[in-house]
């Protein structure tokens, strides 16, 4: 079976149209970034504190907001995380512009708002040791002996409880205790009566202070900039300068369009998004290199043939490969996008867009730019010779 077999598309014929269209789209992307809504920076770059929380039932967003705004640290944004039936939220406190441990204060505020304030062990917030010590102190099994002795007795029960919490994300109430292996019935009764389940569990905390946020922004800009530069050098070294310029034009195009799509869709620019962008840079060059490689080969085979025609032949010859590889990688990225979960979703999204844009630019941007540059250099050389 074969797709795109023996095609003779005249890609280069319409190059002016596509290059113009792409340039326009790039301008739109730039103005969206600079003059439009701009990037929605994630917590990595903007700084701030973000809690990923799981609630027992559908959480009361308004109540969360009020309780957090009451501690007067700054504006709070709340959005759903993952599928609705998981009752998970991303709660973000905008950076108050100073360094500090704000996550602790946020958690305390939410704890006071949502949970009964008793001295009991907090099963959904504390660790194995706290659960163990709570049991050891109450000693429902009447083990007696020294404290360390009692600790040893209750340690496996506490581990079992934490293991269940790890699997479920949150312990909903006493009924869940039945699922813990090795928990004695006395201990179970004690926990059901005394321990505090509370309304929520903390899945993750990200607190990025202004200094680190600034560092990360700087590092990301450098990484993207330098990797583009490295590609230019590599391609110019392996091929000729015009091809390097062509490849870079395609890369800049891909980066801009993808960033523009991020702005339009209102997705956040964070470290995983930049990582995806860098991956994209590699992937897009990869495609471009394969076509350039073929152009080089064809140039050797058919000396004297116009470069435009050679480029069309090369693109057509590699077309099925371009599409199959991009398609397969795209397929894999779709799997990541659909099944990978919200943590990795933006990463997958950037690749999802980027692979399409990258394959397009390989054909319609890289080669025309290389052609244009070659002609430009050629004309210069000739005019110099004439003089």
């Amino acid at each position: 079976m074969r797709f795109f077999h023996g095609t003779h598309f005249q890609f280069m014929k319409y190059r002016r149209f596509w290059v113009t269209l792409s340039t326009l789209l790039n301008l739109v992307a730039i103005s969206l970034i600079l003059f439009g809504p701009g990037f929605k920076y994630g917590v990595d770059f903007a700084g701030g504190t973000q809690l990923t929380m799981k609630f027992k039932s559908d959480p009361d967003v308004a109540r969360i907001r009020t309780s957090l705004e009451n501690i007067k640290l700054g504006a709070v944004t709340i959005q759903r995380f993952d599928e609705p039936e998981r009752h998970e939220l991303l709660i973000r406190l905008q950076s108050p512009g100073q360094e500090g441990d704000f996550s602790a204060r946020m958690i305390t505020a939410l704890d006071q708002e949502f949970n009964a304030q008793t001295a009991a062990t907090r099963l959904n917030l504390q660790g194995v040791e706290a659960v163990r010590d709570g049991l050891a102190q109450a000693d429902p099994d009447s083990v007696g002996g020294t404290f360390d002795n009692r600790r040893a007795h209750y340690e496996p029960m506490a581990s079992g409880l934490l293991k269940l919490r790890k699997e479920m994300g949150i312990l909903n109430g006493p009924a869940d205790l039945d699922r813990i292996k090795g928990l004695s019935s006395n201990a179970k009764r004690h926990l059901a009566d005394n321990a505090r389940f509370g309304e929520f569990a903390i899945l993750a905390v990200d607190n990025v202070g202004p200094a680190v946020g600034k560092d990360l922004r700087q590092k990301a800009t450098y990484a993207v900039g330098f990797s583009l530069l490295a590609m230019l050098v590599y391609i110019a070294f392996r091929f000729h300068l015009p091809y390097g310029v062509g490849a870079i034009a395609a890369l800049v195009h891909d980066t801009l369009i993808t960033l523009g799509v991020l702005v339009v869709t209102g997705r956040e620019l964070d470290i995983p998004a930049v990582a995806a962008l860098l991956t994209l840079v590699g992937f897009s060059v990869n495609d471009t290199v394969v076509i350039f490689d073929r152009i080089r080969e064809q140039l050797k085979l058919h000396r004297g043939k116009p470069l435009v025609e050679i480029m069309d032949v090369a693109i057509n010859q590699t077309l099925s490969r371009t599409i199959i590889t991009s398609g397969l990688t795209w397929l894999v990225v779709i799997a990541l996008f659909l099944f990978g979960g919200d943590v990795i979703n933006t990463f997958a999204f950037v690749l999802l867009i980027g692979i399409i844009v990258g394959s397009y630019s390989t054909i319609y941007i890289a080669s025309p730019t290389a052609l244009w540059m070659t002609n430009l250099l050629e004309r210069r050389k000739q005019s110099r010779r004439r003089r």
């Binding site: 360094e99 990484a223 392996r238 860098l278 990688t329």
Partner: protein
């Protein structure tokens, strides 16, 4: 089978066996990153200015002490704002010789400008050394605390351009709040004589005649009821000079007070014990305050001569008492600490990420495998064998290099699946082209591999270059991605070119004359 081909298969066999050896058992060999395992990543800053200020304050007090002792108490003595120094006016009748001696003795590390008032500023190189020392001590103290707390495989490192940052990574921590407090606790213990106690600051001052004595200070403490609940606040007038401090401790451990409540008991080192026993022996019936981080924890009455041990009481949980004993043992921090960055991942989110990552990876793999079979038939099997081998070798490489697998790392593996077949696609497409040109199967296979090679190398190298930048830029999880992607692509050059070729060779060598190829 030709001899050359046999060696190829031996090599493949050895490499595969090694990979399997290094990847099993999976849970031992493959290190999971914080984002999959759960854990806490902290970047903290040591506020080194604290240590510098302490040094200046110390020198100031020594100058005051020396001069006062000789009977020439300085007229004024004050810290200079915004600089690492202080200024003092000696009494007009101070003999120059005495003054110079004090300066020589006490202000060695200062640049001294003499005038009506004398200005002493800490030398820049000394300031630097003090700051550096503070970070080093901070690092050491935090390491001690973490070690005693007992976290497996902690990472504690100095970082930053000015070197005043410390990165702490603790995998598998299930109570981040507790660990954060434990690291941050300054844990500065002092035992000081109590002059007076009062419910408000005003009454306290009134009791000492309305003015604060120069050698004293006011420190607050909580008032608790019998059940240990905080019901109010009390103010203590304490002597500034401590009887003993945390530096005099030999050890500390969790114990119980006379009511069976958790408390922390400590023993002093010989030097501290001498000071303590002299003092308590002379002050039976007086009160002394146990001050922790500038807060009075308790202020017991000295009932008898105490030599080398004591107990800190007051509203502890078992864990609280244990943690305090731990930080006292590990030593005080030389300067306060600010958290610049925190990344905590609970174990459940990590667990969830693994399951989802595997699901996505499997879905991607199945899709690619099916497509290759469908599109390239027999050669598709070849590519799929190479692909699966790639995954095995990748896991083996992670085991060998002790690399850390993160969620983006899993994404990197998944992405490698897509990119690894690229090399096969390049080759197969090329073989098809050659076959079309009328070449024999033998020739087409040879040419296909030959001609596709430069494109394969170029295209993989470019991706690896961008992955290197990613590694440079990335934080932990992203580094994991760069690692799996780079290793995966490097391996794909082996599997897609070498292994895949060997499979073709095997097929071609079996039959005398090959006229068709399933591709």
């Amino acid at each position: 089978m030709q001899r050359k081909l046999m060696w190829r298969w031996v090599l493949i066999g050895v490499v595969t066996a090694a990979a399997v050896f290094f990847m099993l058992p999976l849970d031992k060999r493959i290190h999971l990153g914080l984002d999959l395992r759960g854990g806490i990543h902290l970047v903290l800053q040591v506020n080194t200015q604290d240590a510098v200020r302490a040094e200046v304050d110390d020198a100031m007090e020594r100058v005051r002490g020396d001069l006062t002792e000789k009977g020439f108490a300085p007229v004024s003595l004050q810290r200079l704002p915004e600089s690492n120094g202080f200024e003092f006016r000696p009494a007009p009748n101070t003999p120059a010789k005495t003054l110079e001696k004090v300066i020589d003795d006490r202000l060695l590390e200062f640049k001294v400008e003499r005038g009506v008032a004398i200005t002493a500023t800490l030398r820049p190189e000394v300031t630097r050394a003090i700051k550096d020392m503070a970070v080093r001590q901070g690092l050491e103290t935090i390491r001690n605390r973490i070690d005693q707390f007992g976290v497996a495989e902690p990472l504690i490192q100095r970082q930053g351009i000015e070197g005043d940052r410390i990165v702490v990574q603790l995998p598998g921590v299930d109570d981040p709040a507790r660990v954060k407090d434990l690291i941050r606790a300054t844990a500065f213990l002092e035992i000081k004589p109590v002059v007076a106690v009062a419910p408000t600051q005003e009454t306290l001052l009134a009791s000492s005649g309305g003015e604060m004595p120069e050698d004293s200070e006011i420190v607050s403490g909580d008032v608790e009821d019998l059940e240990g609940r905080v019901t109010g606040r009390e103010y203590y007038l304490l002597k500034k000079a401590s009887v003993v401090t945390g530096r005099d401790l030999r050890t500390a451990r969790r114990s119980q007070d006379e009511y069976g409540q958790p408390a922390v008991s400590f023993t002093l080192n010989p030097e501290g014990a001498t000071k303590f026993s002299t003092y308590t022996g002379a002050h039976i019936g007086d009160r002394m305050a146990i001050v922790l981080d500038n807060k009075v924890r308790s202020a017991p009455v000295i009932r008898g001569h105490i030599s080398d041990s004591g107990i800190i009481e007051g509203n502890f949980t078992v864990q609280g008492a244990e943690d305090l004993a731990l930080v006292l043992r590990a030593g005080a921090l030389p300067a306060s600490i600010t958290y610049l960055e925190e990344r905590t991942v609970g174990p459940s989110l990590g667990h969830d990420s693994i399951i989802r990552g595997l699901r996505a990876g499997l879905a991607g793999l199945v899709a690619v495998v099916l497509f290759m079979l469908f599109y390239y038939r027999g050669a598709g099997i070849n590519a799929n064998v190479a692909l699966i081998l790639n995954a095995v070798l990748l896991l083996g490489a992670l085991g060998v290099f002790k690399a850390t697998l993160t969620l983006p790392g899993i994404a990197g593996i998944i992405l490698t699946i897509g990119m690894a077949v690229d090399s096969n696609v390049l080759i197969f497409e090329r073989i098809r082209e050659e076959l079309e040109l009328g070449k024999t199967v033998r020739n087409a296979v040879d040419l296909g591999f030959q001609k596709a090679l430069s494109a394969i190398i170029d295209s993989n190298l470019t991706t690896i270059i961008s992955a290197l930048f990613l590694f440079q830029f990335g934080t932990g999880p992203i580094k994991g991605f760069a690692v799996t992607l780079t290793i995966g692509l490097a391996i794909s050059m082996f599997t897609a070119v070498f292994v895949s070729r060997s499979i073709f060779e095997l097929i071609l060598s079996r039959r005398e004359r090959v006229t068709s190829l399933s591709i």
